[in-house]
């Protein structure tokens, strides 16, 4: 499970706001948060930049389990 939802909530950003900032639909953000869609690398980078984190923290599952 990725940590997009956790980071988005920590930054008090709604799904629609995040979607507008990275240039996708709200539905896409919802699917990414629920692990129902694998985003492209460019979208992953955009999400990481918007949420002020890096790709590993946001998407690397092994690291998430360790924590």
């Amino acid at each position: 499970m990725n940590r997009v939802k956790e980071f988005r909530k920590n930054r008090n950003v709604t799904q629609i706001e995040l979607a507008k900032r990275v240039g996708v639909a709200r539905q896409t953000i919802n699917l990414i948060e629920n692990d129902k869609y694998n985003p492209s690398l460019s979208l992953c980078i955009s999400l990481a930049k918007e949420l002020h984190t890096d790709l590993n923290t946001l998407f690397w599952e092994e690291k998430n389990h360790e924590e």
Binding site: G23, V24, A25, T28, L31, P39, S40
Partner: protein, 165 residues
Amino acid sequence: MKNKILNRFIGAVDDRDEYQRHEIYKELAFSGILLWYLTLFLMFISLIFDTIHNTLSFATPSLFIINMVYAGIVIVKIRRKNLDETDCASLEEYEEKKKQLKITSTLFAVQWGFFMLFFMEYVSPYISTGEIDVDWWDVVIWLIAGAFFGMTQYSISKSKIQKHF
């Protein structure tokens, strides 16, 4: 340009994002395949009606041309982008893929040969004149045609298997 056509076709006011485009392409591709089979089926029905009335209507050749042009464009575009190639990393994998191809090509050849024999020598003359007159030579011709069709299918499919060893 493609985005404009896509938006107009699905009735969207702005560009779709990557997930939406992915899903739209999937749906359009599947409905395109269904539509292709539907036009093929309609062409077949139209051909039967033409045979019964001993004529050639506008619909039969039109549907045939549409089918062939559509299939040709799709094949060329897919081939140009190498989307139909299969990579083999070892000799064993290559031999396994070739074996699979031989089986499918043989089945395809038998299926096609028997269908053509049945349709051209039995169904078509029967609905056209009400008489069936098949000799061994006709059977041999369609068996050879089936074998040729299967071999062509095999050699085309084999050319898509890439050796990387």
